[in-house]
C-alpha cells in the first residue's frame, strides 16, 4: 500500500533535502517504487541534489494548476529505474499551492508509487503545512543543537494537530533522524547526546547520520549519498534508517568514519 512520508524539520539547513534524496534512493535500491516531491516552492533544490536540474520542464505547481499532466512533470532518475522526482517551481508566489490541488496530486501519486516522499520547506508556514498535510509517516530531521531541537518539538506538535490523519483521530507515525552528529564532540559534552535529544522530544529514533564530508561531496556532484559513496558512514546510516522504515529490526549504531592519525592527534577538531 502506498505510503506518504514527509521529511520535515522546523529549522532550515539541518539536512532535509539531503535526507529526502538519500532515503528516496535507498528505498528505490531496495526495490520500492519511489517518487520524491519537492514542496519548497520558490527555493527548489531537490532537483539539484539529485542531479536532475537540467531536465525540469514542468513542476508541481504546473500539475496543481492543470497546466501539465502528472506524467509530464515526473522525471525518472537516470541511475535508479525505481526513483522519480516531482520538482518544485521557482515561482515567487508562495500561495500557488492549494490544499485541494496538493491533495489531488498526492492521491494520484499513491496509485502508482509505493512511497511518496515529500521534502518540506523549513519553517512552520503554509508550505511546510501543505507538505505534511497528507502524510502517513514523518521523518523529523534534527541536529543535536538547541535551536534545531526546539523547532523539532514545534513541528511534532503540528504533525499531531494539523495533518489529515490527526483531524481524523489517527496518528502520523513519527521518527527522529539525527544528522550532523559528531560522536567525539558528544562524548566531550560539547554536543547534546542522542539520549538528550530523544528524551526531550519523546519520539522514537530512526537513525543517526554522522557529520561527514561525503554528504557535501554527494550534493556537489548531484547524486544521493547512498548511491554516490555507498560504503561511507552517512550512506550506511541512511541504509539502516531505510530498513527500519520498512519494518526491519536493525541494531542502532553510530556509524563512524575511519579517522587518520592527524585527526586523532588533533582531537578531531578539524571538522
Amino acid at each position: 500500500m502506498a505510503k506518504v512520508l514527509v521529511v520535515t524539520s522546523g529549522k532550515g539547513g539541518v539536512g532535509k533535502t539531503t535526507t529526502t534524496a538519500a532515503m528516496g534512493a535507498a528505498l528505490a535500491q531496495a526495490g520500492e517504487k519511489v517518487v520524491v516531491v519537492d514542496f519548497d516552492v520558490g527555493l527548489r533544490n531537490l532537483d539539484l541534489v539529485l542531479g536532475a536540474e537540467r531536465r525540469v520542464v514542468f513542476d508541481l505547481i504546473n500539475v496543481v494548476h492543470g497546466v501539465a499532466k502528472l506524467p509530464q512533470a515526473l522525471i525518472r532518475d537516470k541511475r535508479l529505474e525505481n526513483l522519480w522526482l516531482l520538482p518544485a517551481s521557482q515561482t515567487k508566489d508562495k500561495d500557488a499551492l492549494t490544499e485541494d490541488g496538493v491533495g489531488r496530486v498526492i492521491t494520484e501519486l499513491r496509485k502508482t508509487f509505493d512511497w511518496v516522499v515529500c521534502d518540506s520547506p523549513a519553517g512552520i508556514e503554509r508550505g511546510a503545512m501543505l507538505a505534511m498535510r497528507y502524510a502517513d509517516e514523518a521523518i523529523i530531521v534534527t541536529n543535536p543543537e538547541v535551536s534545531s531541537v526546539r523547532d523539532s518539538d514545534r513541528i511534532i506538535g503540528m504533525l499531531d494537530s494539523k495533518t489529515v490523519r490527526a483531524e481524523n483521530g489517527e496518528r502520523v507515525e513519527k521518527h527522529i533522524l539525527i544528522t550532523r552528529y559528531d560522536p567525539g564532540r558528544a562524548a566531550r559534552g560539547e554536543m547534546l547526546s542522542i539520549d538528550d535529544v530523544l528524551e526531550i522530544l519523546a519520539t522514537p529514533l530512526l537513525g543517526i547520520v554522522p557529520e561527514s564530508q561525503d554528504v557535501l561531496r554527494a550534493s556537489n556532484v548531484g547524486c544521493p549519498v547512498t548511491l554516490n559513496s555507498p560504503a561511507s558512514a552517512p550512506a550506511r546510516a541512511y541504509h539502516d534508517a531505510m530498513r527500519r522504515l520498512l519494518g526491519e529490526e536493525v541494531e542502532m549504531q553510530i556509524p563512524s568514519e575511519r579517522k587518520g592519525l592527524m585527526n586523532l592527534l588533533l582531537g578531531r577538531r578539524a571538522a
Binding site: E145, V146, V149, R150, D153, R154, G157, S161, A186, A187, R188, G189, E190, M191, L192, S193, D196, I200, G267
Partner: protein, 91 residues
C-alpha cells in the same frame, strides 16, 4: 574524556543545553494549542469600537504584561482625525 576536558579548559556545555531546552519546551508546550488570546481580544475590541468609530486596524495595540503580583492589560487605540464627526453621525 575528562583529561581532554582538562586540556580544553572548559566545562561541558551539553548539560546546560539540555536543561535550557527542558525548561523552555515545558513552557512552550503548555501554551500550544490554545487560541492566541491576545489576537482574539484585539479582534473583538476592534469589532466593537469600529461599530462606532472609523478605525485604522493597525492603530489598535493590545498588550499584556504578566508580573509576579499584578498583571496588566494595556489597550491603546489611536483615533483618526475627524473621529468626533464620525461619533456624531454614528450617535
Amino acid at each position: 574524556m575528562s583529561v581532554l576536558r582538562l586540556f580544553a579548559g572548559r566545562a561541558a556545555s551539553a548539560p546546560v543545553a539540555r536543561e535550557r531546552l527542558q525548561i523552555l519546551l515545558a513552557h512552550e508546550r503548555s501554551l500550544r494549542g490554545q487560541p492566541d488570546l491576545l489576537m482574539q481580544l484585539r479582534e473583538e475590541i476592534l469589532a466593537v469600537v469600529s461599530r462606532h468609530v472609523v478605525l485604522d486596524p493597525d492603530k489598535v495595540i493590545v498588550r499584556m504584561d504578566r508580573g509576579k503580583h499584578v498583571s496588566t492589560l494595556e489597550v491603546d487605540i489611536e483615533l483618526p482625525n475627524g473621529a468626533d464627526r464620525a461619533f456624531a453621525s454614528a450617535g
